[in-house]
Amino acid sequence: MANWLPPVWAGLIAFAVLAYVLLDGFDLGVGILFAAERDARDRDVIVNSVAPIWDGNETWLVLGGGGLLAVFPLAYSIILPALYPTIIAMLLSLVFRGVAFEFRFRARRAASRLWWDRAFLAGSALAAFCQGLSLGGLLQGIRVADRAYAGGWLDWLNGFTVLCGLALVVGYALQGSCWLIWRTEGALQRRCRRYASLLGVLLLALMVVVSLWTPMLNPSISGKWFGYPGIVLTGPVPILVALVAWRFWRGLARREHLSPFLCVQAWFVLSYIGLGISFWPLIVPPSLTIWDAAAPPASQLFLLVGTVILIPIILTYTGYAYWVFRGKVRHGEHYH
């Protein structure tokens, strides 16, 4: 019995989703910042800062979805119907936003350009919000009976999930602000520092509320976080979050370029580790473990071969792309 395959695959899927959150988060975030950034020239700079890379960022989401079907088909077939409206709304938002990227540059009239700008803003914000709703809906648990989702189609909707949705919108906007602090200069960069400072406070507050609310959803989660020996593992997480917060505001105060972005990404990684602790070893709380949901070893092994060959190549290439596109984006410049 190849019992080691489900944890390996859980790690790979979790990695794909984390890569997605870290990479697509900031480019959804800059779309959300369109709410505050109205100047056409600044908007061009903002879009240009992510134009060469955002498509690759989004592909991690396809990998997460396709991978889940292949190696945890039961989880895939329960999570997607349970979160049906949020998943569909997220996909449609991403479609809208994806073409807005192109069409805003191709629009010939200012009015239609403004329309695609709005689509870009609304699509980015709604996609982020729906991802938060989906995360919250999964975390609070899904009713399962007879290998299928056993709830209604709005079961996921409540105060907790809405809070998670808001937290992700704020978090992505913060990622976007810090990305722009890194990649732009002048007045836009100064405004982004202000946004980052404000959004940082907001995100930290939301993280505290969500973190305190999560253990109350389910006794098995609270046992992990507050009971011994779980606390040995979980205790350092909030401490590290506080340390990163200190470094984040110091970076902002000293007008550093890169450190705020790295700190926000560290926050996301820490939150993600916290989520991982809450989930483990479940894939669909409160009842299905990764072993329950796993495809048979033959299926998992078959896909693993290709994945371990291709993922490192893709990662190397992604790293190279980011290295080539480093540096400040200025007015009137294109990366193309």
Partner: protein, 468 residues
Amino acid sequence: MTNAIILARAQFAFTVGLHIILPAFSIGLASYLMVLEGLWLRTGRQVYHDLYNYWLKIFAVGFAMGVVSGLVMSYQFGTNWARFSDRVGPVIGPLMGYEVLTAFFLEAGFLGVMLFGQTRVGPRLHFFATCCVAAGTLMSAFWILAANSWMQTPAGYTVAPDGRFLPTNYWEVIFNPSFPYRFVHMVLACYLSLALLVGAVGAWHLLRDRQNQAARTMFSMAMWMAAIVAPLQLVAGDAQGLNTAEYQPAKVAAMEGDFETVPGSPLVLFGMPNAAEGRVDFSLEIPRAGALIVTHSWNGAVRGLNEFPRENWPPLPYVFWAFRAMVGLGLLMIALGWWSLVQRFRRRLYASPLLWRAAVLMGPAGFMALLSGWTVTEVGRQPFTAYGLLRTAESASPIATPGVAASLAAFVVVYFIVFGAGFLYLLRLMARRPVAGEAGPPSGVPVRSAGITPMPAVAGAPAPAAGD
């Protein structure tokens, strides 16, 4: 069948129907670009390079739209077909996983070099990138067709006590009995669809300026393809038909409109299949021709629908009419191809406005035939998702009707806006006259499908500011 299932089927048909056009376009065009660049490297003729650049810009936009609609497809199986995913996922999930990896790798690696690398890498390396993109699109088709063919002719599996299908032999899963036929038929369909589109664009520009060298070359190449590949496709389709008659006889009976099994079955050209009465009304028939086509013998018998339980019949009119649409369009393609041959040998290929007009009209015919063919094979698979093993009614998600209806409406509205704008943009690109010294994709605007490749920046972007 409940409303929710019918709506879920409509949603899948709508999203996949729109999606399939785009990969078919990419598969055909990537190979065409490979041929153009190969010819340019071999002959050094400028016109091939001009055509390469002309179609490369169109490829970029079409590929981008395919990526967006593909994102939706990777979640459709879970949102609307959850029980199918649970039970069949262990077998075909990894095939779709490989498709995603292939597409990802292709996008990350070679597409950017192909789109933007012409001035930055040598011509041979650039040609290599084009070949990799063409091979990559075929690899994607390979995996998707393997998964789809498995649903038609399942093999290499066992059924677990809980009803799940588990793989026993991936070689048999992939190379299931109908896969080779479907793969050939589909790839030829992609090539033929693209050839007719290229022919229509060439003819359109010939009608405006018959001296335009690029228009002449693309029209001539496209007509060679129509003359040769369209008849080949007929042979490939016939082979797939024999395979279907062996493994999915009820589908063939629905295609043919045969209810009774009689020796020397006639060929029903037209008519109204009447499932309730078990006959074809107002039918126009050719005696014995049906037997000849399906069994390759005068006295053969096509197994009629009455041999199968009525609850296993596919929806008749869709299969029956879509099959006629596909074959009819295919015959028109052969006619167009051979007409062009006649004009070519009379040395009047570039002096035949009537032929050009016909070619313009036939521009979308390939894609229409492709959609008809998919309707035949997928509606003909009903009422099963895994043929003979898992019924469609047992495959759907437990989603209430209003949920499926609302999401279907949202898909229709968003797709019409987004892909309407996209197709309009493609048409605008194709309406632009190809010129000598055609430039590559525009360098001032982002192209979504640039992927994560850094090639455009290697020489194009200013040096990074110091100190970052």
